[in-house]
Symmetry: C2
Subunit: 476 residues, 2 copies
């Protein structure tokens, strides 16, 4: 097992191995030479200094979260209030108000958590309603049935104006009011802007318990705020350990020189692969079902933060990585054919777990064709398949890197989250874009409001109508 | 609601609308003109004739499946035997022996099916163990506990030599033997080659019930064979309706002229977008949680069938579409920023459901900012958001097409599956590749066996070892 030494302290967290993305292994056309790395690191160092300045000036909102004990205390106060009496917790949120919650739950609780008996679970069942598909909401309400009287609904929206979350919440609030009368407000916890916005006003009027979303933290960077911490703690996840891991990574990033800095190294690899080696698609492929939620979380973090055009030298720059997720070993039987033999446009980032909490050893096997599996541990087979896949990719000059998790612990998950958030900030600097906005999302929001008649812009509604009317020349 | 007329019969199934991929809407650089479509359709027609010849000669294995009543009867015989006495069904399979099963279950049973009480469900709980992550297997076994005596394990592997499935099965078989003694074989149904292979031999020796995988059907084309039908029927899905829908689509494809042929149109759009318009990434984005499993199924179908190099004019041709999945409306808050403002390298294929089985209407709302949501049905909001997203993409010259499902029924799911399978065959012809093999997957398989000491090629094991030994220059 790999052990990192950081500042004299034995440090077992997460470690990046980029050998299989190196020119030494896969050649200079697709791989990175040590010289290229050194040159790029000095560029990354400048970006790092710029982000550090924002951080030191208190302008890098998410970077403060691992150290905000006040948020942690507010969360735990509410958790203590509700945890004993609640059987089900239903989150109403979307995007950054759901993906972090799902990622923590999938990583740190059993995969079948919701199917376990009330006695065996470490907290209430957790449902995340992060879509307006009527079936998604309807089927959860049907399943809850009478348990709704022991259900807590956790609505998460900074402004309260996110259409999907607002719609879901209006419906749920109305149902709760009908079913539970004036006590309905006791079944709602709102996580929203600490001072302003529609949801904050409703909370004050109706009297819900609330938790704050820090105004200077965007949705996709909010998992270590009350947004992600409340549901995690309700479900028995050790949020102190989660924050401690994130804090340790934050300190490591803050104090390490660029060549020993994991965020700087990761950013340098991803930037070089994107700009110099044509790797427009950056795959996160955990060899662990528990880490698949983090890959979904990464998809949003990367796509919304970096999927932007910029004006460079007067031209729109359209270079941006497309993040996708895959699952090892499963997707060896789905995606690896393409990754090896299709276009060489992908960087594969494996997540590998060194120690698994449970394991099974294969028995004696009398079948010659399967003799090689005899007495092998399942975790060993998983590890070997990952190495074999990295080997096969390298034989086709396809780059991969591996991020090793010593084990799937709250500390390591927290560290990984902070590592990727900070790497995203560095990528924003390197690509010369604002990593914290999402301007291209606005038009569809306006269009939705216009079609539903809520906009003064009647012409917009008219223009969109042509997108619903079918045209026989294009129908089959 | 859209109604198709096919050969004089009223036909309500699935319909393709490609207007928002047309040059008329998004311009000639990224959109398709009617002339381009006509030219490409005549090319597709040649491919179609070639595939039809294979079909008529009985060489297009999967195309026979909708009509194989013998398979249907074998499946239903076993379903009748087990359905009354079994509480849990556990599939051991990977890739094509799992993705179709998951897709059918997610589409056609409630999303929370496994959490419903034994009385309310339409069959046993269904678990699909499609990875060798020890947690995935271990946590299901833990959850089953004593219910293992009412659990049926369904191992699916054509050869029986797929390492992951073989490993899982060896472990489960050993556990069953310990827990249930000689009766263990009554808890296993093997789906495998009808005559040969390791699993067929074990089934004969141990005495499991078996179902055949047609020798001429590859894993990713096998969902309408016993591979997908058995678990579906066990869980109460109407497989007759599923096959009928597939058969209707098969007949429609077989008899329609090219310009009215849904598979030919779909292939023409996807081919033109890939070859002429630089859309290397082809996203499937259902606006429905129930259809998300089909998007995962598509990922394998497309990546393994089409992710191949060919020798054209003596040069390796690396053009292949990368299939990815997204979920509407959820991923409007995750991926749409990138899809609109990042590189214009994506074709978005929306799946839209016209009629939802359940719905909720928003109540009165006193909040001016949310007034536009008042009394809106959730299904209407979902539909409007999809149209708004297509509009926003089109404003940025990003192409999209929509496949409309009249409703999510077994018939329509069957029709969609056949449509995509046949489209894949057409794409294989158009790209001049063998859509039915997966040669690039072999090396990792050999490498796995070599590392575990099961190969005569000791040098291979040595070469791979260097991929596990860490090198400090590349570690951080």
């Amino acid at each position: 097992m790999d052990v990192c030494i950081a500042e004299g302290k034995e440090w077992k967290m997460i470690q990046i191995d980029w050998k299989n993305a190196s020119a030494e292994v896969i050649g200079r056309e697709h791989g990175i030479t040590l010289e290229e790395m050194a040159t790029t690191l000095s560029k990354v160092d400048k970006a790092h200094r710029a982000v550090l300045l924002q951080w030191q000036a208190g302008q890098l909102g998410y970077a403060n979260l691992p150290f905000r004990t006040d948020y942690r205390d507010m969360v735990m106060n509410l958790v203590q209030k509700y945890r004993g009496s609640i059987t089900d917790l239903v989150i109403l949120g979307i995007g950054g108000s759901a993906l972090g919650n799902i990622a923590l739950q999938v990583a740190l609780n059993p995969l079948n958590y919701n199917m376990m008996s009330d006695r065996r679970r470490s907290g209430p069942r957790l449902f995340v309603i992060d879509n307006i598909d009527p079936c998604l909401l309807g089927e959860v309400l049907l399943l809850l049935g009478r348990r709704i009287s022991k259900t807590l609904f956790n609505v998460i929206s900074k402004s309260g104006r996110t259409a999907e979350t607002a719609a879901l919440f209006m419906i749920v609030r109305s149902i709760l009011h009908k079913r539970l009368g004036e006590k309905f407000a006791e079944h709602i916890v709102a996580i929203t802007d600490p001072e302003k916005g529609v949801l904050r006003e409703m909370a004050a009027a109706d009297g819900y318990d609330t938790l704050p979303i820090p105004p200077d933290v965007g949705g996709r960077f909010s998992v270590l705020s009350p947004v992600g911490l409340f549901s995690a703690a309700m479900c028995g996840i050790d949020i102190d350990a989660l924050l401690a891991g994130a804090a340790e990574m934050a300190n490591r990033i803050k104090t390490s020189p660029v060549e020993k800095n994991p965020a700087c190294t990761l950013a340098a690899i991803k930037y070089l692969m994107l700009i110099e080696k044509g790797k427009d698609i950056q795959v996160m492929m955990p060899y662990s079902n528990h880490l698949l939620g983090l890959a979904d979380w990464y998809r949003q973090l990367w796509a919304e933060s970096l999927g932007k055009s910029t004006k460079r030298d007067g031209n729109a720059n359209r270079i941006a990585p497309t993040p996708i997720k895959a699952l090892g070993a499963t997707d060896q039987h789905s995606q690896i054919q393409l990754y090896r033999e299709g276009p060489n446009d992908k960087l594969i980032v494996f997540l590998q777990v060194n120690k698994h909490p449970q394991d099974e050893r294969l028995p004696d096997i009398d079948i010659p064709a399967l003799d090689y599996l005899k007495h092998v541990r399942l975790s060993k087979l998983l590890e070997v398949e990952k190495v074999a896949t990295a080997y096969a990719l390298a034989q086709s000059s396809r780059p991969s890197i591996t991020i090793h998790f010593d084990a799937i612990t709250p500390e390591n998950v927290g560290a990984f989250i902070f590592l990727y958030e900070y790497t995203t900030s560095l990528m924003g600097e390197l690509l010369d874009i604002d990593a914290y906005n999402q301007p291209a999302v606005e038009l569809a929001k306006h269009a939705t409001i216009a079609v539903l008649g809520g906009s003064a812009d009647k012409q917009l509604a008219g223009r969109i109508k042509q997108f619903t009317s079918s045209d026989k020349r294009y129908l089959i």
